[in-house]
Subunit: 406 residues, 4 copies
């Protein structure tokens, strides 16, 4: 077992851990440990909300969750010799939930329109929740019947620390966007929010300044961050740009499983747990590989399905209005078409929506040049269902007479 | 071999075929043949531009192509008993280029900004072309070295005829969009254009009216149409909504291969060829399956790769401006990041761009809820290259001493 | 389309083709064509029995087939510059049945114990047959209901010509085996049989000698030959040892599909058809790669399934007698266990047996060291069935109350 | 985490555990726990030799290992309500090594001819060993350079307890085989051997009798047992015949990874560890599914490779003698051909042999009807190597001039 370089007591809040983590991005948050290139380490992580959501049958906790404390990150981890312009090579060696009956569960939440919102918030404005039980590699939920699948576990959030300049760029461009519609519900973006900033082991003197500057963790950015890419799973190798000495990698928001898009906002199956990493450095890799965002190589262990039902969507909205190559809208429609189908199979809309966020569903950008319609597709693996959900043709072969020729 | 229900002489224009096809969508274009449920038929197709592009080393033909004649469609094919509200079940039994040394090639084109444009038109404003040679299931190009891959052939365009009402809706919503910026280059959408309309076997009396109303074939719509979904390949089964008696299926725009998004506009490897189909009907299927757009089940023969290099993109534009969950922009950036990487591997930007459009590249909607950034990913299969394109870590194991323990 | 270097008129016998093929291996059979390294060519092939089996509902033709004329091979094809010790690199670019309604079918036969026999001949001593219809990439049979699958087409037989020395070695070792039980039914091996030898374009003077020496085509040998490896399908690259000047490649015994082992003897779906090849040479490759038998790289287009039912078998015979690490027996038992299961699903034993030979079933050597039992496994893809064939547990979840938490 | 129903202290011998396991099969070995249908449980297991092999650079421990104590099994576990004729449904929910730096390693051993032997013992008569380090899902070895792969972990040995009658049959048939050559080295099979029998919690009175009757654990048999099927990995569901009340499932011989055939005898990567299981019962399932040996459904998480180099072998021995459809010999030759190739790549024969036993290599029964030669194939995934091992053609495309057409 790799050495635990970041330790979590699941019963305590992140702020109360022996070495606390952080929930903002800032170059001045001190590394909690420095490792050598080639080292393999274990990092334990809290669930992204710091334990606000319970294993119960009410979604009130999702409805009332304080999102300003999210995401709880473990780290930063510095790597010896890593300097700006280098590439930090991170192997996801393994990942799992915190062992124990009280921790081996997760949840998927539909966040309400007035508290975070979600991808289909206009159709699903209220908070809902499904609790998932983990049975080894399998997940199943008492809230969504007849479904069982092998998780494609991954850290939803993993990234290197930004430089001062990069951080300033983030805050500026996001502030500019917010300013276009500051009262929007849900908001266009989240500005720094010092009130609930948690800044690891940062000492008191700098705290106010860093809390006021620290970027929120919700969006993915150049450094990786909250990409929510389900394929960053076991066996993957990720190449991150380094912006500060040591690289200062942090991670959290572990998902037992997720569908492409993570469409219910916390659409993945959220969990606390651990990740085993191997860390390495490629000197001057950023210019060598023209790295703007991370690149990665998926492992060979991702769940493999061969029997899909696929739903298409185009960029016309539900008022019949035509939008121009709007891939987001096309993906929304593909999801809504899938949900409509699943409702015919006996699921409620909320169950179907939660399922699309949590199961290993693939979302594809199929066509983006055929003006004015983008075309997206959602791949639903039929094998995650314990019953048949597929349509069949009406012309059935006459079988009674069939026999091998003798 | 299935009966040929639509025949093409590749040396003749579509208008001059014994039974001509069409290049507009309209319920009044007469079916050229009626088949029975369960029938298997072969449909021959012209290349989408009706032969404007040549097997040569100049992209002038792409630059000067008349897009108003596109796409050349074979059909409509009516199925006995199909009525509005039914589902037309179409199996893609097989597909291939027209046999013969003069026809077994294809091309990928970057369309110039002022003639169609393309997904990355701001970075690639000029016309370029790569010609591909087909060697059985493989494609390779004298214009892009060291690449060879098995095609995932499919009809880029396949759909049922719209009803009068649906057609009116299409024209209205697209006209409304065009009106927001009628002089844009490239345009926001293409309105009906009677001058170059080809309407199959429609008789003279109705021709003017139908030509004036007929919807252009560029965008995908509710009926399927120009979806450019690379996975509608051999062995797939598609479920189409039926809007008119007989269903009236038409198809064309055959692709030897394509990457998700078909990003260079004719990003696929375009070819003339044939498709074998099986046609069937599910009565009242539209309401039974809540069909808005087609749904489909992919076959089991799609090229299978396990060694990918994946590039991420987020919705910040190249001026550094933040956009709100703009999946189209995120996909653009993922593509640009991949192209930058391939340039480091010795390709020109145009070669890399053409390759992304043509090879079996996967485009994923990875995250669409982490405001304000959407996150898209492009999966480049390393095995399509005949040389190594992957980065390697700096810490190489010392091998000289290794031996099995005795 | 590649140039046709070996042409077949399907209505004529192999001996009556313009350029006849051959049904024996011998270095003195003249090459019918010489191609250059890098050339792509089409080779047309007769079905392996030269047309003895009909598209009908009686297996009498299988029962009475003259196996001494098998297999009908197209070739030899010489490659310029190939010399003994070189490696002949053969790409299987594509493959298909002869086009036309009279030729687009195939069959699977259980050969009777007293005419060829088969893998499970003690359980299935009589001749049976299933005729398969080809619908593009799909096969289905009026003799085996509820089954439809995408074929993994390949040449069952492909190999280079043996040298004089290698041929002598083959004949000697097989004669020695036959001598241990010369009257066995079915025989242990087939000796040369000049009566029905067909020797291509060989001139009269040498005919008697070569016919008397020519090796039968039934077994696979060092040169490849009748390997019946289902994965030598579209997109594969094979490396053959060269034993004579030019390499002299011949092929035939085309299969639309096959299960591992080809267990009913002509267990594959036999067809006449065509193969597109690319030919190349690696000088001195045999010693460089220590080639004894061919090696190959499969393509990326093989049918992909993810839902298997797997049957185990061990090396104890049906009299209860223990055999020592007998993998052949273990595989027999795995097949018999699968057949027994399929009989419970409503198939006759013969239907199940024919299906195992024809469908893309995988046969694995799972354990071969656990004395005294070898363990083999047969992987049956559930998705080839158009109905459910899987067992389900008795403990079904109670679903009626399930709902997402609100 | 599932309840631990069988607990192991890795530092103690199996006999000294709080509840000891067993190393023989016998119906009278008492169940250590009874669970309910649907229960999920964790079973901890010792490494198969009970700790005789060390993490060091000498193979003397393999050479001198006492095989009569193998395999150390955890169990039996009884399931309420299971009775003879029922089917025990076992889900492999997850599996892993015992956590901790002292336990997260494994080894592959070539057993010497005079102590167990192995599949290729005539070529590799001496003991060798490779120690593997586990890095999350990856294994690598200081004894085999440039190799790293994701393990396909599984219990090599898992089975239900035999009835008295079945046990008698086993002992009788194996004794009969041994009697044909009782002095063979290595032996044909292992008879009961009371001296080192470990019988769980069996009380003293019956011990002598049961020790004298208890079947050795080496071979797989009707009940499953030591099948060494690498695909019984995470997510698999296995259907076992029940022969005694409760079923009495036992398991052990955990493998971090294995190649088909487990050819070096302990060819897998052997480890101690834990397995999470779900247990269920199908009443009267044996007759319903005609179960003779277990059947199973693999999970969706097996390592997926698409780039294989495949080696063929036929049933001619290295003296040139022809054998009749000897699949075991054909598989041996395929393995030897692969080893010869890997030696050209710089590995020693022993390293290559150890690698074939340990890596996720596929072994296929390709042809078993083409008398007299069986044909087997070994699929080596190229992606487990950190360098290129593939041959390339001599005709390289001229690249310098290539450019996209403009």
């Amino acid at each position: 077992m790799a050495d635990v370089v970041f330790k979590i007591d699941p019963k305590k809040h992140m702020a109360d851990q022996e070495v606390p983590g952080h929930n903002r991005w800032h170059p001045d948050i001190p590394a909690v440990v420095t490792v050598k290139p080639g080292d393999e380490v274990r990092v334990e992580c809290k669930e992204w909300t710091d334990g606000q959501i319970g294993n119960n049958d009410s979604a009130n906790d999702v409805r009332d969750a304080d999102l300003s404390v999210c995401h709880m990150l473990s780290g930063p981890i510095a790597v010896q010799g890593a300097e700006p312009g280098d590439v930090l090579v991170v192997d996801i060696l393994n990942i799992g939930p915190m062992p124990g009956t009280e921790t081996e569960w997760g949840y998927t939440g539909i966040f309400a329109r007035n508290n975070g919102g979600c991808f289909l918030t206009e159709y699903f404005p209220d908070a809902y929740k499904a609790v998932w039980k983990f049975s080894g590699v399998y997940a199943s939920s008492r809230h969504i019947p007849d479904v069982r699948f092998e998780g494609i576990s991954h850290p939803g959030l993993i990234g290197t620390a930004p430089s001062k300049e990069l951080l300033a760029k983030w805050n500026a461009r996001e502030a500019e966007l917010i300013a276009t519609n500051p009262d929007r519900v849900p908001p266009l973006a989240y500005p720094p929010y010092p009130q609930t900033a948690l800044l690891g082991t940062l000492k008191q003197g700098d705290y106010q300044r860093v809390a006021a500057e620290g970027a929120r963790t919700v969006p993915p950015r150049e450094h990786g961050g909250n990409c929510d890419i389900k394929n960053l799973s076991r066996g993957s190798r990720i190449y991150f740009p380094v912006y500060v000495k040591g690289g200062n990698l942090s991670l959290g928001d572990l998902h037992f499983s997720q569908g492409d898009g993570e469409i219910t906002f916390c659409g993945a199956i959220e969990m606390g747990g651990w990740v085993d990493l191997r860390l390495d450095v490629i000197k001057h890799g950023v210019s060598k590989y023209k790295l703007v965002n991370p690149i990665f190589r998926p492992g060979h262990l991702n769940p493999q399905y061969s029997n899909f039902l696929v739903f298409e969507g185009i960029s016309v909205d539900d008022q019949g209005k035509q939008h121009y190559l709007d891939t987001t809208l096309a993906y929304k429609n593909a999801c809504m078409n899938c949900i409509a189908y699943l409702k015919e199979c006996g699921y409620t809309g909320e169950q179907a929506y939660l399922l699309l966020g949590a199961a290993p569903v693939e979302g594809r950008v199929s066509g983006v040049v055929d003006i004015p319609n983008a075309c997206c597709t959602v791949y639903l693996p039929a094998e995650i269902f314990e019953r048949t959900i597929e349509p069949f043709s009406t012309s059935v072969s006459k079988k009674s007479q069939a026999a091998a020729a003798k």
